[in-house]
């Protein structure tokens, strides 16, 4: 049903979705949080980003979503150099990324439907198209029929699935998840991870930050390990 999203990119650029080239991030208060990070992710690749708390996982994700800017080095997202992105271009770059958060970041006063529809409204889709895509997305995460519910009426696992439906509804070529299972029990976590695998199988690049080593080791994917701001294993 869902078509591979990024096949048309392969012909235009080399087959790289995300590329870090000697990237550092320094905060005036805390010093270097990331040091000399270099790696790249192919289109349709799935990887875990791991490390102790404070190792710089969240900071690395923030650099990709241009919530923060790198102090040194180059980041290429789908061929666009994020260092050169102007402020007014950032919203359009963010539409290439589906962001998923540990605390879900849902709007509590909006229904599930409205939450998932938000990226589509922002991108300027017509009502009919919005309705169709929201339903398709909710169907994908197994929440079809809960459109009219409010987030607080759902369980934690369901809320996170709403978050995932919102992240993928705009069919972004890449998904970034920051501790997506941090608030969930192992069984629900495994379900969520299985969902990510499904997106990866249709060509979406997935990068998941997590410190849940046991869960990561069960799955056979590339692991990027950060230690005190440096990439120690890839």
């Amino acid at each position: 049903m869902r078509k591979p999203l990024s096949t048309h990119y392969s012909s235009t650029t080399e087959n790289v979705m995300l590329k870090f080239d000697r990237v550092s991030k320094r905060y005036p208060e805390t010093g270097d949080v990331l040091r000399n990070i270099s790696f790249h992710l192919q289109h349709g690749e799935m990887a875990f980003l791991t490390g102790h708390s404070g190792a710089g996982k969240s900071t690395l994700l923030k650099l990709i979503a241009v919530i923060e800017r790198s102090s040194r080095g180059q980041i290429l997202l789908d061929g666009h150099n994020l260092n050169h992105a102007k402020d007014r271009q950032i919203p359009y770059l963010r539409r290439k990324i589906g962001l998923i958060f540990q605390d879900y970041k849902l709007l509590q006063d909006r229904t599930v439907f409205d939450n998932v529809a938000l990226p589509l409204l922002i991108a300027g889709y017509g009502r009919h198209e919005v309705s169709r895509r929201v339903r398709a997305s909710l169907d994908k995460v197994g929440l079809l029929g809960k459109e009219r519910k409010y987030p607080l009426a759902l369980s934690g696992g369901e809320q996170q699935r709403v978050g995932i439906a919102r992240a993928v509804v705009n069919k972004p070529p890449m998904i970034l998840a920051d501790e997506p299972t941090g608030n969930l029990d192992p069984e629900l976590s495994a379900e969520i991870m299985h969902l990510f695998e499904q997106f990866q199988q249709v060509g979406v690049t997935v990068l998941i930050a997590s410190h849940d080593i046991s869960l990561i080791s069960q799955m056979n994917y590339r692991v990027l390990k950060l230690d005190h701001g440096q990439l120690v294993a890839s």
């Binding site: 048309h8 923030k62 359009y92 300027g124 889709y125």
Partner: protein, 367 residues
């Protein structure tokens, strides 16, 4: 009170507008959908989405409809939020309405005074107050002699007793004056110079000739006090402009602050919208519409405040005007002035919100 009345009828009006908007769109939907769908797929395959690509998919009319949908949604949802917190809204709108009504009330007062001065402007009449010892008969003779002057168009003698009678009728001091025993009022000759005598210098010359006459105690050109009134009017007009500017700035700041608070209350929503790729203009839109509604309703409320004030003042003013035998009619805001009032107050609302938003959204970074 007014606000309440408005809110009571809002749901009906809103429902009507929505029905007319969406009822129509529903009919068009299937055709447009069929038309646009295959095209959508084609474009998606040929064109990679650069950051400049605003909308991925959908043909132009679909985007246009989506755009109008967004505006309509922002327009009505911001109105809905105003109605949802009636007390805050009513308080803000009342404060703004008072500020706006002060400015427009002052404008009307000046406009009415200007009208009054306009009526007087035509009179370049000269009043000659005759000496106390000149009898009525001599006064008549003197008036007749003036009439022969070629520069004079018309002469009117108001004798002591006529003046007294008029004074007693209109001033309400009749009894007090009677107790004086003696009529303190002078004979007055009102001289209307030829129309041709526009030149101020010639008027001065005429006045000087009259001043030198034995019978004249004191000669005064009415023009002088018309001029004084006019310069006073100019002063009042400028004071009005200054006052309006100050009040306009106050309206800007009050609206801006209201919007700032609303932005603060909805901070989480704004952050999430930014994270999923909302542009600043998308985020601003509902807040700008809130500012518009606040300004617009303040304008409407201000109009009502001015209208009530005018109704209260209308009767006494017209009575007063009757006492001066004037055909003075109280001016009120015309249709175009009302439109200008509403336009300016809406504009101030939007500008106040815009100023705050463009600053605050720069500051507001996700996380």
């Amino acid at each position: 009170m007014k606000g309440r009345k408005n809110t009571a009828s809002f749901p009906n009006i809103l429902a009507m507008i929505f029905r007319s908007l969406y009822g129509e769109r529903e009919k068009r939907m299937p055709a447009r959908h069929q038309r646009h769908h295959p095209k959508n797929k084609k474009t998606a395959q040929t064109r990679p989405d650069g950051p400049q690509t605003r909308v991925s998919g959908g043909d132009f009319s679909d985007k246009l409809h989506a755009y109008f949908d967004l505006h309509a949604h922002a327009l009505f949802s911001s109105l809905g939020r105003l109605v949802d917190s009636p007390y805050t809204s009513i308080m803000t709108i009342t404060v703004l309405a008072i500020a706006i009504s002060l400015a427009s009330g002052f404008y009307i007062v000046v406009a009415n005074l200007q009208q009054l001065a306009g009526n007087l402007e035509a009179s370049n009449q000269i009043s000659l107050f005759l000496r106390d010892d000149i009898s009525d008969a001599n006064a008549r003779k003197f008036a007749a002699s003036i009439k022969r002057n070629p520069s004079v168009q018309e002469v009117k003698l108001i004798t002591k007793s006529e003046a007294m009678e008029e004074f007693q009728t209109y001033s309400g001091f009749g009894e007090a004056v009677k107790s004086l025993g003696k009529n303190p009022l002078p004979n007055v000759v009102q001289v209307l110079p030829e129309n041709a005598l526009e030149d101020r210098q010639e008027l001065e010359n005429l006045l000087n000739t009259f001043k030198q006459a034995f019978e004249v105690d004191f000669a005064q050109m009415d023009m002088d006090w018309v001029r004084r009134l006019q310069s006073f009017m100019e002063l009042a007009r400028r004071a009005g402009i200054l006052l309006s500017l100050l009040l306009g700035v106050a309206v800007l700041f009050v609206t801006g602050n209201t919007i700032r608070l609303e932005l603060h209350n909805r901070r989480e929503e704004v952050v999430i919208a930014k994270l999923v790729g909302a542009t600043n203009s998308f985020i601003q839109r509902p807040f700008l519409y809130s500012g518009f509604w606040i300004g617009f309703f303040s304008g409407v409320a201000a109009w009502f405040i001015v209208a009530v004030m005018m109704l209260i003042l209308k009767r006494p003013i017209e009575e007063l005007s009757g006492l001066y035998e004037g055909d003075f009619h109280l001016l009120f805001l015309s249709y175009s002035e009302t439109l200008v009032l509403l336009f300016i107050s809406s504009l101030l609302g939007v500008l106040g919100s815009w100023a705050v938003l463009s600053y605050q959204l720069q500051q507001l970074k996700p996380e």
